[in-house]
Amino acid sequence: MSVFLAVVIGIGWYFSYYYGDPNILYFFVIFSVLMNVFSYWFSDKIVLKLAGAKEAKREEYFDLYTSVENLSITAGLPMPKVYVINDPAPNAFATGRDKKHAVVVVTSGLLSILEKNELEGVIAHELSHIGNRDMLLSTIVVVLVGFVTIIADVFRRNLFFGNLGRSRDSDNKAGNLLMIVGIVLSILAPIFAILIQLAISRKREFLADASGALLTRYPDGLANALKKISQHSQPMTRQSSAIAHLYIADPKGLGKKFSGLFATHPPVEERVQALIGR
C-alpha cells in the first residue's frame, strides 16, 4: 500500500510541478487516500478476487478449518471465513475491515510444508492481526501520510510565494534560513512519514507474533513455521503490491535483500529470536 501511495504521490508531484498547478498534487493525494479507504472497507471481497482464492470447506481442509475455528474460540473472535490459494509459495494473510468481516487466506504451498503445530502458529498470528485491528490502523496511517504530504506541500508553496512578495521589505538572514529549513523539511516530511508507516508495520508484525504466541501458548510453533517459510521463499505466482504488507512473508520472495528501513516485515531471525530467544 505504501509503495502504491508513494508512486501515486510522486506522479502527482511531478505533474503538479510541470504544470505549475498545486491542485493536481492535492487531487492525486486525495485520490490515492480515497482508494486506500475504499480498499480497506471492501478488503475482504477485493482481496479474494485479486488473489484467486477458493473457500476452504471443513470436509476438504479439516485441519485448517478446525485450527481456525478453535483458535478463534480461544481469541474470543467470531470465526473468519477461510480461503485457500493454489500457489506453491508458502504464505498466508488476513484481512477485513473489522472482526465480523474478517478473512484468513493460506496458500496450498503453506499447507503442504507445515505441520499442524506450525500451521496453528501461523493462523494465530493472522487472527491476532484481526484482533489487534491492524487493517484499520494501517489505513489510518496511510491517510495521515496523505495529509502530511498535502500540508507539507501547502506549507512550501506559501513559504515560497509569501517570501517572494515580502523580500523587498526585509532582508534578514534568519528569515531566509527559516525558509530553507522549511523547504527541506517539507520535502523530507512525506519521506519520513512513509518511513514511520513502515516502522509501524514492522512493530505490528512483532505484536501479532506475540499475541499469536499468547493464543497458542506454544511460540515454537510459529518460530518453526517462520524458519520453514523463509527457507522455501520464492515469489508467488500471483502478487499484488497493494496487499503485500498483509502477508506473513514477503510475497515477492525478496527475503534478505529488501530488509531494513524499507521493509514491511521484520527479518525472520529477529522474529524467531523474539519468540523463542535463540
Partner: protein, 183 residues
Amino acid sequence: MKYLWIVLGVVVLWAIYVFNRFVSLRNRTNEAWADIEVQLKRRYDLIPNLVNSVKGYATHESAAFENVTKARSAAMGATGPTGAHAQAENMLSGALKSLFAVAEAYPELKANQNFLALQNELSDTENKIQAARRFYNANVRDLNTAIESFPGNIVAGIFRFTQKEFFDLADNDAAQGPVEVKF
C-alpha cells in the same frame, strides 16, 4: 470550596467507570463459561454413539464402558463454573482417554469408518473445549486482576464483586496419571 466539589465529581465519575468495567468483565466471564458448556454438551452428545460403536467389537471391556458412562453422568449432573464441575469434566476426559487406549487393541474397530469419524469429532471437541477453557481463564484472569487491584478493589468491595475460579486441572491424581495401555 469549589475545588472540593470538582474532586468529588471526578471521584464519582471514576467510580462509575470502574463499576461498569467490573460489570462488563463479569458478564464476559459468564458468557465464556456458557461457551464452554456448549462444547461440553457437544461432547456429551457424541459419547453414547462412541460407546456403542466400541461395544460392537470389544464386548468384554465392560470396565472401560462403565467408567465412561458413569463419568458422563457425573459431569452432566454438575453445573456452574465451579471447581467440582471442572474436576468432573477432567475425569470424563480421563475416562475417554482410557476408552481410546482400550480400543487400540482391536484392529477391526480401528478400521471402522464410523469409529474413526467419531474419534476425529471427539478429538476436535476436546480441542474446542481446551480453546473455550483458555478463553474463559483469560477472562477470569482479567476479572480477578481488576477486582484485586487498588484502588478498584474498594469499588469491588462496596458492590460485592467476587473473584471467580479458573477452570483448572486441580490436584486430581486420577486425571493426571498417565493412561496405561495394556495389550
